[in-house]
Symmetry: C2
Subunit: 117 residues, 2 copies
């Protein structure tokens, strides 16, 4: 859909982050997620967490600019990050911010996509 | 990222639904969302809602297969739907299910995308 005057700005990114080391479960990357939100200058209005049995965790931040959700797959040492914002954010800025916010973890691979709406 | 034995199945869809008529605010499409979830044979584990001031509403369903989030922009008569699942779902099935679940509303336009991860 083309952006025009009758369409809001919707920026949509998703990323797969794969880690070198086994991810503990339950584990906690919340500091990393919150650092990412801070670096992207987004604002959390609500935060929800759900732990799956036996492993895996979903955290969803409702933002005043839409949402950030993260699902983890500890058995694959990876997480899927999904960001929808009504604020323009440059893809390079998202990539740099992810790297910076996860710098205390050993990333094996980061695959980031910007999606057309 | 290629899907392989060390990557979970992640199906990612997003859609913009634009309606013919003015959307009331606060308004309620929850029956439509829940019909969609049922048609796609997904399972809700938690549901969260947040109303924005002055208008706009975010509803997020944590699914046992990941998440469905919906943000509304009543001022544009549209909503953005974001579905991430760890279950394979055919794009045509998603499109048909959206049309069927919103059949009591007058859709002006549906733009559905399947995203690579």
């Amino acid at each position: 859909m083309e952006e025009n005057q009758s369409t809001p700005i919707i920026n949509h990114f998703s990323a797969i982050l794969r880690f070198k080391d086994q991810i503990d479960s339950p584990f906690d990357f919340e500091n990393n997620y919150e650092e990412l939100i801070k670096l992207l200058d987004l604002n959390v209005v609500k935060k929800f967490a759900h732990e799956f049995d036996p492993i895996g965790k979903t955290i969803i931040y409702v933002l005043s600019e839409s949402h950030l959700s993260i699902h983890t797959w500890p058995e694959y040492k990876l997480l899927h990050l999904d960001l929808v914002t009504c604020k323009f954010i440059d893809k390079d800025k998202v990539e740099d911010s992810i790297k910076q916010s996860f710098q205390d973890k050993e990333l094996a691979n980061l695959s980031l996509k910007k999606h057309d709406i």
